[in-house]
């Protein structure tokens, strides 16, 4: 590239173009084409779709995280039980269940209460947190 080309290009870049001749005319065409935007455009709902995708990814990540903690909790519980059984030399017997058979009302109430708490947590508390 020679100085003349450089000078012409700089004139176009500055927007104060004065030169004449074939070189200048051709540069004019090149610069006009360069300013034309590519025809490709993204769909009008591109941003909305992407935000939905991000939300979905976050939801999946959150579920995975919850599952991880649940698994870790269960694993810890099993380990703790094993250690506790070993340390206390605990022997599992059916005696404890015979004790419960004397209090059917208390067992029913306890079960129903735990189910109710879970239902409230699922239907009401989590919905409130979501807002």
């Amino acid at each position: 590239m020679n100085d003349k080309d450089e000078d012409l290009q700089q004139q176009f870049d500055r927007g104060d173009f004065h030169a004449e001749g074939i070189e200048a005319q051709v540069y004019q065409k090149v610069f006009d084409a360069l300013k034309r935007e590519p025809e490709f455009t993204l769909p009008v709902d591109f941003a909305d779709r992407l935000v939905t995708l991000v939300e979905e990814k976050e939801r999946v990540r959150e579920i995975s995280r919850d599952n991880f903690w649940l698994g870790l909790g269960l694993f810890s519980m099993v380990i703790t039980l094993i250690v506790a059984f070993a340390l206390t030399e605990f022997k599992l017997s059916v005696g404890i269940f015979q004790f419960f058979s004397g209090y059917p009302g208390l067992v029913s109430f306890g079960t129903a209460f735990i189910l109710l708490l879970n239902w409230i947590d699922k239907k009401i508390i989590r919905k409130i947190e979501a807002f």
Binding site: K29, A33, E39, T41, L42, A47, L50, V54
Partner: protein, 187 residues
Amino acid sequence: MIDDRALVSRIMSGDKQAFRLLIKQHERLVAHMVSRLVDRNEDREELCQDVFLKVYEKISLFSFQSKLSTWIATIAYRMGINHLRKKKIELSDIPEEESFTSHFVSDSDPQESMENNEIETMTLKLIDQLPPHYKTILTLYHIDQMNYAEIGEVTGMPEGTVKNYLFRARNLLKEKVKKYLGKEQLL
């Protein structure tokens, strides 16, 4: 209009509306860059999507050392180049050989093209034939109005190289168009 710092802060706090705004503000820039580098529309849209997902993922790392648009363009450029590498597309320098434009200059019917006022279209086709780095620099400079320093930041090239590539590419395009017009006048 919301400034970059406030926008980034809102996105980091989980505001999806702010992320939607960021996409709207920068989708043209990303589409320009990607469409110059990638041929198929399906690939283009997918790559644009991946660029913005990466932006969302890495937004906490943005340190405001540059404009947000420059940072996003950097991600788009790198992902575009990686896409080309995966597709094993050559990232070479400008080809000097005659075959570079032979398809457009020799094989086509210039008269027919001129009748359809196709010089600009032909120039755009020539731009498409340029190596990816050159196309990116031309797009960022002429369409997205970035300066040499910003383009250097996006592409990782020194300012002098950016300037040199820009002048070389435009000079090459001028020579090819001139040759085309010369043939046209001979007919």
